[in-house]
Symmetry: C2
Subunit: 265 residues, 2 copies
Amino acid sequence: MTLSPSERRREIVNLVMARKTVALDDLAAHLGVSRMTVHRDLDLLEERGLLRKERGGATAESSLLFESNFHYRMQNDLAEKHALARAARALVEPGSVIMIDDSTTTLLLAEELEAIEFVTVITNSLAVCEKLRAHSNVKLVLSGGSYNQNLQAFYGLICEQSIAKLRADWAFLSASSIIGLSLYHQDQEVVRMKRALMAAAERRALLVTHSKFHTRALNHFGELSEFDRIFIDDGLDADSAAKLRQAGIAFELVHGQNTTRTETK
Amino acid sequence: MTLSPSERRREIVNLVMARKTVALDDLAAHLGVSRMTVHRDLDLLEERGLLRKERGGATAESSLLFESNFHYRMQNDLAEKHALARAARALVEPGSVIMIDDSTTTLLLAEELEAIEFVTVITNSLAVCEKLRAHSNVKLVLSGGSYNQNLQAFYGLICEQSIAKLRADWAFLSASSIIGLSLYHQDQEVVRMKRALMAAAERRALLVTHSKFHTRALNHFGELSEFDRIFIDDGLDADSAAKLRQAGIAFELVHGQNTTRTETK
DNA sequence: GTCCATATATCAAATTCCGTGTTATTTTGT
DNA sequence: ACAAAATAACACGGAATTTGATATATGGAC
């Protein structure tokens, strides 16, 4: 089986992530392509901030070990994220004002908005901005701030102050990690931005894949109880689900298994 | 002679602009392509906000009649704008903080920044943002605000307040129109943004093509005397030049004639 | 400094993607 | 209901990208 260029690069990233460092010749042999091609792939991945290229091979960039890179995260659990986005779309009423955070999950919600008559979207995510810029049914408001290439979004004082000056009907957020009833994220400036979004919205919706229940991240940014609606894909293990129910947290299990193409007709 | 796709679309725009409305069949006949191709061109131009597609043809969007559309302006005097950008680049010192406005002229300055060691760029232009996002030598700060699809940039309260909170060494601006010693722009919210940029920068540089001396726009946004450096391409007529000199305005004539490819080796 | 391994540059072949026109089907306005 | 127009689907040809072979340059170990 021969991989497509993007699949091949993904495979390289996986190997680099698992082994932390990997030889160029090993990659060429494992992927069945020439050294030259591997060189070019590594150059590209270095551009994206996923790894550091060095003589004879490559090592993982620290950002990759935290799995915080946008391009990398975008690939994970895609089908589940799509399903969550489709489910959350029902909350968006024509004419309403919504906030969308910098996560790859809520980015997919942006794609769903084409179907809505008219919406105002406030975001700090450049990726969301690019998805919506051509849609004439969407009034787009960007927070601004300092650009973070790794997360494809804007942060800092400018970002937080802009958000603080706005009001929305709903804020749609995701989290990196859920431990107990608390939400975590690895990055402080992201935490500040998320707090600003949560404070500026009338109601809050959380979209998380079940994988978020099995990772850890450094900084606390909120509690499940702060959210009005919570969407989780149905890959959630029974144990975690039971604990949530026991704590009185209402959530919706969304069907979105790893069927690569499950377009609902 | 057969036109390239972009030339063909430009021709459509010119026709729509001149006639205000034009039939699809006329376009197909005049351009020597199939109806299907014209359909696809019109879809694309409608996406860009240049015209409105309607049964049997297309009509000009008002933004086009005011020549305020980004994609349209981007095509005009390209060689001259490139030359202005190259000249202005010399002002940017490594490590400095600069502001770039939403004009198509200063957008080309952004392209030139790759050569600079390290710069912080503050802008309200999404186009500038996209040019620079991948450059690791540029720290990018976006003002945020409400997105204007027609101008590919952000405006409004958020934008102005963000800019007011920042300081820069240089602001690089352009103008739609120069009448006497005054600068004009057709759009009020753009004027506000430009004033904010000018106020937030230590020094100001103006980049204008000679064609700006022969058009008119509604709103006053500044005086030539407010700028520390002024760059004009050498297509400027002797009469206008004399008047500037007489008024004691120092400016630099930049060579950049319509030689389609004058790459300086 | 030399030497060998690795990296970059260049080019031609292979492949993929994009633009186009044809035909078939659906939609729209009268 | 009808005709004109718009859209959808498909296939062809050419442009652009990707790839690996080769040649050249660079870097580190000694």
